[in-house]
Subunit: 461 residues, 2 copies
């Protein structure tokens, strides 16, 4: 049956690149999570919208599940194929299709890397402002599937804000041309917005029109050392009141330890429990003085113990590396990742409860905190002790995640701020969405994908 | 049956305010369109979320259609009740429920007027930036239902960008608490976004958490007179390149004639076919000089014939009145309204085709153009000649709208930029959305409102 189905696919789409080697199945069958054993049926690498449509129609006839796949940098298992699915990789559809100077939009294929989008925008004197550390490998299609956030959300919002149009292949193979770059379009339900963040379960994005904007004014980057957790949101409030922030990121001493061990350069001497990297507009002397004044006010109030302001682009990059290098520095420790959020106003209370919870539940285990605290988004990475077996470690982390989910629910938070639900967070969706919401979501899923072939098992079982 | 049903409603919700007087039925049964004869069953004015839920549950049991209703300033018939529906007016649910200084959000009931939201935001030193002429009467619930745009979209986007959370009563009476003010929330489908612009057909908004932002820097307002249509987008491009625009609005000499006849003050002498009101950041001398330089460059290139820059707040208000007073000045002429959009890049070609179309099809009829041209949004108001009967006039306008819809389709535009589809544009939805999209929208509607009781007949028949 399997061979028959694949033979039929090859016959229908003779130019379609199909991979079935064991190495390819393993490579394309997983993402940055390492919890599932890849077991796809095959890998299809379409080169056109028509081929994507052909694959979806074929899947419906043969009842084969599809896993849409981009840069596979996901952290929630959204692109994992572990159950005989056909991986539909958009990797070959990675070109810029057009730029419109009047609309200030860039139209791209979904497999294009975020960094390539950045470069293309800058060639036209504009920027695409969504940005995060995986920029070199992640694809814009995956960014759309998870409504990717990152390090500039405080200024520019999430991916959702930057999508002017989407072409999507729905579950029946039909091509939808959603919003077509319009700024104003109050003509029925905004299905474009519904697709963003749907993790490939409602349709396959085959083209995106991205809004670009003017580059920000010259900025400064500052690293701050904080004496305690309570200072964190107070420093944020003070900086936000006096400066136009582009980013406000935090991490702990344990995170710093790992990133330094991984080759980054120490920028502040001494031991401090918390650090902040912030970037803000500093086009002139007045704003630079305001930054210094904000810093001094923080020091006077005992909210900041030490700080350094980058004097060059190289130093700014070095300060940023202390934050952006964390994820990579932790990878060898097989971290279990939580990616949670609450309203900014709820952060202080939430942080205290979470700290108590983690200290209690992981007494012998190293826990690394960092995140986009100006957006209420906290990344918690639990590092696997070498002596602990994988399965045992994950079981323990799942237990704690259950408790974390309860805390989140009390604070009105989200179990996934920017990674998506995928497979990893599926069991905890109820902590963030009510039974009624989930029932409606299932209903919507059935409308777009009646045969349940688009990324089945992701978001909900 | 009708009396029985109403008696049951009164018995279930003894505190619910219910109106059945002929005058009330007429008052609440219609919006700013005047094409349908109001014929609601009754008017319910709930004072709480629980009462709204009770009404929806009652409606399901008695199979009574509901028309959610706000300020009834809509121009597409979205709030018209002409078929024995119960009007569910949110007019009494019009309070500010809370302000959060850290989140910078304002939580409000749906019946609050947009202008009251503006005032409440300013009391906290912030702004809610969505704005348009109906601000004093329209309600935030209606703004959300149509994803209202207005005069600041060029800077701040549409209503959609400013909704941090929505409480919505779904078609079965269940209360949904969508997104709860989170900045980052990648936990399943964003049903909040689906509700925005759904014109009350998927659920009834009973609470909204609005994002606020810093007030813009001091601005200047300029009125420009243009010699021809081709100059319009060139002036826009030049101004946008040199200034940080807050608004860029255009209107024609015919619009000016009406607004002057309605009491506004002429600001530029002579006859000019096109005018632009623009507002831009002007915090310092440098930006003021840039504005003057942009203006002079336009004059040198023959793109602008004359201009005036406001020297006081009063003069700025007077210049704005020339644009904002248009709708009101046209009301006595029973205008037939088109509210269309194309991508900004498609505006010049579209304008030429539309001008030819309107000149040909309305040879004896006055047509008034104005709109948010920086967003690709054009309002076309066709004035009824006194000698023409209402029905005959509308039939002629519907014929032209059919041709206009075909032109829009060729240009990838939208039949409703910001007014919504309602009843007025229902027959033309196919010009903007494909058959496949409409089928999916119907499917979504059935998920949220299985008995089809929420604003039936609006958006689609």
């Amino acid at each position: 049956m399997t061979h028959e189905a694949l033979a039929d696919l090859a016959a229908r789409l003779p130019d379609l690149r199909l991979l079935t080697d064991a190495g390819d199945l393993e490579h394309y069958g997983r993402d940055w999570t390492r919890r599932w054993t890849p077991a796809p049926l095959a890998i299809a690498l379409p080169a056109s919208v028509e081929e994507v449509q052909g694959i979806v129609r074929w899947a419906n006839q043969h009842n084969v599940a599809l896993v849409p796949s981009g840069g596979r940098t996901g952290l929630s298992g959204g692109a994992v194929a572990a159950n005989g699915e056909l991986v539909l990789s958009l990797a070959r559809m990675n070109r810029v299709l057009g730029f419109d100077a009047v609309d200030r939009t860039l139209t791209v294929q979904p497999g294009i890397a975020l960094e390539t989008v950045h470069t293309a925008a800058r060639e036209h004197g504009l920027i695409y402002p969504v940005d995060f550390a995986a920029r070199g490998s992640c694809s814009i299609g995956g960014n759309i599937a998870t409504n990717a956030g990152g390090i500039r959300v405080i200024r520019y919002g999430n991916t959702r804000e930057w999508i002017a149009g989407l072409k999507v292949v729905a579950g029946n193979g039909e091509l939808l041309d959603l919003n077509r770059g319009l700024i104003k379009n109050s003509s029925g339900y905004d299905l474009r917005q519904l697709m963003i963040g749907a993790e490939g379960t409602l349709g396959i994005v085959v083209e995106a029109t991205l809004r670009l904007t003017d580059p920000p004014p010259p900025s400064q980057v500052m690293l701050l050392a904080l004496p305690d957790m309570d200072a964190l949101m107070q420093v944020f409030a003070l900086f936000r009141a006096h400066l136009s922030l582009q980013a406000f990121e935090f991490f702990t001493d344990i995170a710093l330890k790992h990133v330094l061990a991984h080759g980054a350069q120490r920028a502040i001497d001494g031991d401090h429990p918390y650090y902040v990297v912030t970037e803000f507009d500093a086009p002139d002397e007045r704003t630079q003085e305001a930054a210094l004044a904000a810093f001094e006010q923080c020091v006077e109030r005992g909210l900041v113990s030490d700080g350094v302001i980058a004097q060059s682009e190289a130093q700014a990059a070095a300060l940023w590396r202390l934050r952006e290098g964390i994820t990579e520095s932790l990878a060898p420790h097989k971290p279990y990742k939580n990616d949670v959020s609450v309203r900014i106003g709820a952060v202080p209370g939430f942080l205290h409860e979470i700290q108590a919870l983690l200290t209690r539940e992981y007494p012998q285990i190293e826990v690394v905190w960092f995140g986009h605290i100006g957006d209420g988004n906290l990344h918690i990475n639990v590092l696997k002790p070498e002596t602990l077996a994988d399965a045992q470690f994950i079981a323990q982390c799942e237990h704690v995640t259950k408790l974390l989910a309860q805390t989140l629910q009390r604070h009105g938070g989200s179990i996934s701020a920017e990674h998506g639900i995928g497979l990893v967070k599926r069991a905890y969706l109820e902590s963030t969405r009510s039974a009624e919401e989930i029932a409606l979501m299932r209903g919507v899923k059935a409308v777009f994908d009646p045969n349940g072939l688009l990324n089945p098992g992701k978001v909900f079982a």
